[in-house]
Amino acid sequence: MTDYNLMSDDDFRRDVRQFFEAEYPEELRNISHRPKFAEVEDWHKVLHAKGWVAPAWPSEFGGMGLGAAKLLIFYEEQQRWGVTRGRDMGVLMVGPLIIKFGTDTQKEYWLPRILSCETIWCQGYSEPGAGSDLASLRTTAIVDGDDFVINGQKIWTTMAHDADHIFMLVRTDPDAPKKQQGISFVLAKMDQPGIEVRTIVTLSGEEEFCEVFFDNARAPVANLVGEMNNGWSMAKALLSFERIFIGSPNMAQNALMQLKTLADGRGAFNDPAFRDRYAEVALDVEDHAALYTRFADQMKRGETLGSDVSMLKIWVSETFQKITELMIEVAGPDGGALGPLQLGNVGIDVLSNFYKSRPTTIYGGSNEIQRNILSKAVLNLPG
């Protein structure tokens, strides 16, 4: 088993880069949609054979066992080459929780199946009445013999129509004094009579999100991960890496390059008003990257990141939106056109970028919720 952490950062980066460049299928580079598993199955097999499906997991469970520095490098190279995250919910969300809080039996059973994609996962957190205020969730799981009986509804469940398992936060104690208490973390099979999935067509015409309805669905009590009624704090414990990952400069950098190509092709750099606004967003991206580096360095030194890291996500998502809005302006009369605008032999899909930027200020804790958190945790403003 290779201990990647013994390699120098530069050597590791080179190896990762070479692997992606040699092995990643060209037709999957920079795809803008979330793929169904069938689309990425071959690529997943290559990753699995290499042992690179789970960069963050400890090697004893089949992961790469990367420390923070190497992990960031891995993701940076993945983004640089436009490698899809594929169907990584199991690896990113379920696996770490089972590793941290699961029993030995759960680890032995689930972890290999997550790595091999024998199980494909979706995340059942949000509900119609529990979005930003997630702790208000109302889907219940009541113990009945060896099973939970689950009733309620989840929404914005990404790729639920292409998943065979769901990990979910459910209310197991409706009488708990605080809403954050009484929530548990449960795994369930999707293919059963009590579960119905309906896809939600998004503004961009894609079907990534779903509603999932539970009508006396069942899951074994053995599928409870961690302690009963302790799911909320477990789910929160997972967020520390997510919070810097979601604030990475990549999406905005990528959109900026496309804006540049579009503006070159359309002669927009002859317009002083456009030049000023382009410079503004370009510098917004550059200086954000400087702040990202500061946080990443902190993480590489093994320090725990504070709540202030969510500044990255606020800034980069709002900058991403400004960039895509500029793309629409540059497109002029083609600003409403679907599909790529042809500029010589390059195609720039203006609206796909625009649509992709819209949810970024909503997901992962909306920017308004992030500002609430920052004002209390970082600025110490009164509640």
Binding site: A282, D287, T293, V378, L379, G383
Partner: protein, 374 residues
């Protein structure tokens, strides 16, 4: 600073430097001096300038052979931040960025360099000229071999200067001249600024001058010094906005309306968070730019990084100081409250050496042409 490719200082060294300058400026009177200095003829306190010199501040980025500390541009940036934090009126950035940088590049063996660094002589640089559109991009001051004739504008630190450096044209091309600041033929006119200091417009009528440097090097050295000073002005702005933000946060935590601190209202909280993010992005961006400048040998690249720093610092400081006034409510618009000192200093530092829009323009021109060249 002219020692390009200098060794980077460790974070610990920079922190020690920061602490010592902070202590010195606090002991000298901190923010109270900014208020006291307003409108005073001298503009600043010669004793404090001398203390700063003795602490090595004026030679922080100059080479050790010239009597400097050889710590490079990021260290000078740390000092500029501390100057900004208390709106200290001394012309530290103009001295370090313009005067010391120019002298070290053009006449490192002249005694004047070590005299500036040690605080023995106070030196101002008269460089830019005015035309009907504002800043002239040509130099019309003329040196005839013995005296200089013409007009300069936006001179920092003239009121207390012993020596004046003047950039002029001569038969040999660009020259850097040395004048006695009190010489006949030097006719200064103070232009009062929003922060209470004065920039001087100076008319020269055959004022006696001697040549410090002439020829092809002068223009390049001036451009490099201007880039350094621009980057350091950005650092000073970081300090200005840092304190304006801290004062504002303190105010909204304690000021009560409707029976609650106003900082408990979400609309105020979100505006405060935006100020905080602007400050953090600016600190990261400006410090990174100064670090990259320290390792960069090409003038074009240094100018581009200086523009990046100044564009960001002006944007952040203007947002933060204006929001600071806004969140203080009516008292923010009074002379009595300190927060106004920061708005007024930010206005001056923003206008000096190019504001955000000007530097975005320069940064983009340079970026696009360097990309096209590749």
């Amino acid at each position: 600073m002219t020692d390009m490719g200098e060794t980077a200082q460790s974070d610990e060294d920079l922190q020690m430097l920061r602490d010592s300058v902070r202590t010195l400026l606090e002991r000298a009177g901190g923010l109270d001096r900014a208020r006291g200095a307003r409108g005073a003829a001298e503009g600043w306190n010669a004793g404090v300038m001398q203390e700063l010199a003795e602490a090595g501040v004026l030679g922080v980025s100059a080479s050790e052979t010239a009597g400097g500390l050889g710590m490079g541009l990021p260290a000078a940036g740390v000092i500029a931040e501390e100057v900004g934090r208390v709106v200290a009126p001394e012309p530290v950035v103009a001295t370090v960025g313009l005067v010391v940088s120019l002298l070290e590049q053009l006449c490192p063996d002249d005694a004047l360099l070590s005299q500036v660094i040690s605080g023995e002589k106070s030196v101002a640089l008269a460089w830019q000229e005015r035309n009907s559109a504002g800043l002239s991009d040509t130099i019309n001051c003329r040196f005839d071999g013995t005296g200089v004739t013409g007009a300069k504008a936006w001179v920092v630190g003239f009121a207390s200067a012993d020596v004046l450096l003047v950039l002029a044209e001569s038969d040999a091309g660009k020259v850097l001249l040395r004048l006695d600041a009190k010489a006949t033929g030097v006719n200064p006119q103070p232009q009062r600024q929003s922060d209470g200091n004065a920039l001087h417009e100076i008319t020269f009528t055959g004022a006696p001058a001697s040549v410090l440097a002439e020829g092809g090097d002068v223009s390049g050295a001036m451009a490099l010094a201007a880039a350094d000073a621009t980057a350091l002005a950005a650092s000073e702005l970081l300090g200005v906005s840092n304190t304006a933000l801290a004062l504002t946060l303190e105010y909204i935590r304690t000021r009560e309306q409707f029976g609650k601190p106003i900082g408990s209202f979400q609309v105020i909280q979100h505006r405060a968070v935006n100020m905080q993010i602007a400050q953090e992005i600016a600190e990261a961006g400006v410090r990174e730019a100064l670090g990259l400048m320290g390792a960069e040998t090409s003038l074009d690249a240094r100018e581009r990084l200086a523009s990046r720093a100044k564009a960001r610092a002006c944007t952040a400081a203007n947002l933060i100081t204006r929001e600071a006034i806004r969140l203080h409510g009516a008292v923010g618009f009074t002379d009595e409250y300190d927060v106004g000192l920061f708005l007024n200093r930010a206005l001056v530092l923003s206008a000096w050496l190019g504001d955000a829009a000007a530097h975005r323009r320069r940064w983009l021109d340079a970026t696009l042409s360097s990309e096209a060249a590749q």
